[in-house]
Symmetry: C2
Subunit: 493 residues, 2 copies
């Protein structure tokens, strides 16, 4: 007979009802083959006695098992494990080992992505300074306005519909506000038809890639480029072609030469501040690129991730502001302005492309967060976004100035750089006598965390020996500490 | 000479600075070829006079244009449009027509998706009753707890890191709480390694599809199925194979027969309440399916979208609770319990699959909303989610009872159905004498909006003449109104 007493362990303190625990365990034993089909189960009084529980509990459990189809009552005969269940060999179930294996390694095959970039954000909590790729300072995020506005919006009864299913294009109010805001600040000339709210720039790049690229379509990027974009393009099946980048940005003459030989589906540009080198695409090259797009019929994916952070003069209007032929897909977001966790962005393109992007959204994640999007709309309306942008722009500018002046004063024997006209990072070249691995290792031991995967800035082996150093997320004290540590590091090189 | 006075229109009331407006327009004329390279620009005093603005404004504009590279100053000679700019034929720019065309139709090619489902949610605000596919009642969303908790969490200074970049796996606290919550309520035996936070069930289906399917891999679904899942699989390149569905759920004997002939990559099941027919997968077939998965090495994508809504007895534990060989990918979310706009869900699978899903997340949308995820963790901890679930379960059960009893009492000549044991919708079959198009049309004129795309419930032309009618989102008054309108409609058939 099956040893019910020792095989069923009930925990009165557990959250789950006792009768359900009993069910669970009987089912477990049925599935493992220890209680095979047609096994006669003990009467409710007997089992209750053995397990030292109330008879009512056993009755409830049996009722449940009957309802679920695990056991059956044959009138005047008793209760049996359902005879229709498949027969199972108990030896097939080595529970301990199986559980461990199966929760780690799947028994089906799926494709791995060896190229996908791993987030280099460290989650180690020990005190140290981390030099990032050019992230905003999340400590400056306007949390008070954001959470207060969020709460006020969520609470209003006439906003209840925000909690229902919403449009895959994004919250209407936010789209209206953004059309106005972007037309004003970016010199665009768009309407509601041209905008889709995304969850940040990365989603814009992903949507554009999935829509544009079929297998082996060619996408053109700079020979130094934002690597996550490259991975995103490859994920969509595109082949990447490189053109040089110099102090005026991507080389549009090289693009022209490429177009004469190959059919390019699209080119990816970070026109305002090239990622990673921070240079701005010159006015001439902008016009040239737009002409080429018109001539050869390729798309320009313009990733304007840090449009608002321009320190010396007014930002140069994006390519999208002069897109007379419908070639530009314009991508941006608020994550750099507000905080990385505030995932709201926009995709701007001709209507037909936006409609397809909206279809894609339906199957990727259904829609955005309507309450957050409405909150954003309210913050734009109240001028909070604009005020916050001005505020952080001043702070980031002074941080840039401090970081660059210290770097120049004290470390010019080791590092070379141009003061960036905008953006949140400096493109720093290490003197060729030295190696970044040494710098990273020594800095790490002094609690200054540089990017250990610095080679990712040079996927084409150009040997520029440069990395991006984000200054924006460091306050004044941290900037001084960084420079002091770098001095110590360099003294040991 | 270029007619500056009539070609430049400045708006003192506009948001954008006057000098920047002047820049914008000069750039526009340069780009359109009306101010060709090497054109001599008027002196600042002259232009200021012509445009009736302050000379300082013109100086600021010229400085800006010089900084951006549009114009240049030749010492002792004057200011000229940059001679290096490309020459443009003004006839190429027919602005009015171009703007309209380009904002509608793109000049590059991209793939369209004719099959993608359009959201059937109507945004027309006129008062009417809408019968949905089985959505929760967003009016019941626990908005007060949610927004209060959100605000409290966002405000705490030690939560500031929530605003920084977060993990692609999701907020750690939420993952910990969910592991416990799901182990308790679903009889799972998972650890942190097995869970990825998503933005709802749909994202889980999307991630699983992208990872599992290469071109022409076969995925098996019921011959009636949740259509959005089908589209998601096709988007990933999979080929769909159908097996029958009866009153015990999908026919696992048919699955076995299929596996003998074809290599199936995965099967998609809504085991708890089949979508659309609402039947529950029987205990026998569950065991059979798990055996087949082990034998043939395919994945089981278990979409448990409404696990918590089971009215007659305790929910049957999902297939994932007995996944001894690592075959099950378990997908669920909170959108049906809380509100469609609260996009938090989970993907449960063996560790290696979860790690790849996390990589994919990096390029799709970077991460979730950390503050919202932390809010969710807090609501679980405080028991709010569980209390809310119990509360809406009672309400939905009584709505089911009312809807079904009225439908049976008054409309049994027209509609046939089984009272669903759970879920938020009834699978209603229309008497074969009648046609849903008539019903939908007549109902629409009486302000009862049924799904005009009802044929989507029968993509394989089985002629079951059935649709889903969601009762959960209707309150008592709306249920009565619905039945009354249906009576009127049927009287006219």
């Amino acid at each position: 007979m099956f040893p019910y007493k020792s095989s069923i362990l009930l925990n009165r303190k557990a959250h789950r009802n006792l009768y359900l625990q009993l069910c669970d365990q009987i089912i477990k034993h049925i599935k493992s083959g220890k209680l095979p089909p047609a096994t006669r189960l003990p009467g409710t009084r007997t089992l209750a006695n053995d397990l030292q529980i109330h008879r009512k509990t056993v009755i409830a459990a049996y009722d449940e098992l009957i309802a679920q189809g695990w056991i059956e009552t044959l009138p005047s005969r008793g209760t049996y494990v359902n005879r229709m269940l498949p027969i199972v060999n108990p030896a097939d179930f080595d529970h301990e080992n199986s559980k461990q294996k199966t929760t780690t390694i799947s028994s089906f095959s799926f494709s791995k992505r060896p190229n996908l970039m791993y987030s280099s954000v460290s989650f180690d909590d020990s005190p140290k300074i981390q030099i990032d790729d050019g992230s905003p300072d999340h400590r400056l995020a306007p949390i008070e306005e954001l959470s207060k506005t969020y709460r006020n919006i969520a609470k209003k009864s006439y906003h209840q519909n925000l909690f229902a299913y919403g449009s895959t294009y994004g919250n209407l109010d936010l789209r209206k506000k953004l059309v106005k805001y972007l037309n004003q600040t970016r010199g665009l000339n768009i309407s509601l038809d041209n905008i889709l709210i995304t969850r940040g720039s990365q989603m814009g790049i992903y949507l554009a890639s999935q829509l544009l690229f079929n297998k082996r379509d060619t996408v053109v990027v700079g020979n130094t480029n934002y690597l996550t974009a490259n991975y995103t393009f490859e994920e969509a099946g595109a082949t990447i072609a490189h053109i040089p980048v110099d102090d005026q940005g991507i080389d549009t003459n090289a693009m022209e030469a490429l177009c004469k030989k190959t059919k390019a589906k699209a080119i990816y540009v970070t026109s305002h501040h090239h990622h990673p080198t921070t240079v701005t695409l010159s006015a001439e090259r902008r016009m040239h690129l737009l002409q080429l797009a018109k001539q050869y019929g390729f798309a320009i994916i313009e990733d304007d991730y840090d449009y608002d952070f321009h320190y010396s003069n007014a930002p140069i209007l994006p390519l999208a502001s002069n897109d007379n032929y419908g070639n530009v897909i314009y991508i941006g977001g608020f994550t750099k302005i507000i905080a990385p966790a505030m995932r709201i962005g926009y995709l701007i393109a001709p209507k037909d492309f936006i409609d397809e992007a909206s279809n894609m959204r339906r199957i990727i994640d259904r829609q955005g967060d309507m309450v957050l999007e409405k909150t954003m709309a309210q913050l734009i309306k109240a001028g909070d976004i604009q005020r916050h942008t001005s505020k952080v722009l001043k702070i980031y500018k002074s941080r840039r100035d401090l970081f660059c002046s210290l770097l120049k004063e004290r470390l010019s024997n080791y590092f070379e750089f141009e003061v960036p006209k905008g953006g949140l990072a400096v493109w720093v070249t290490l003197n060729n006598k030295y190696n970044w691995d040494d710098v990273v290792a020594k800095a790490g031991s002094l609690k200054l965390e540089l990017n250990p995967e610095w080679r990712r800035y040079d996927p084409n082996n150009l040997k520029h020996n440069s990395i991006r150093m984000g200054f924006a997320s460091l306050n004044e004290e941290e900037i001084y500490k960084t420079i002091i540590i770098l001095e110590k590091v360099c003294a040991q090189l």
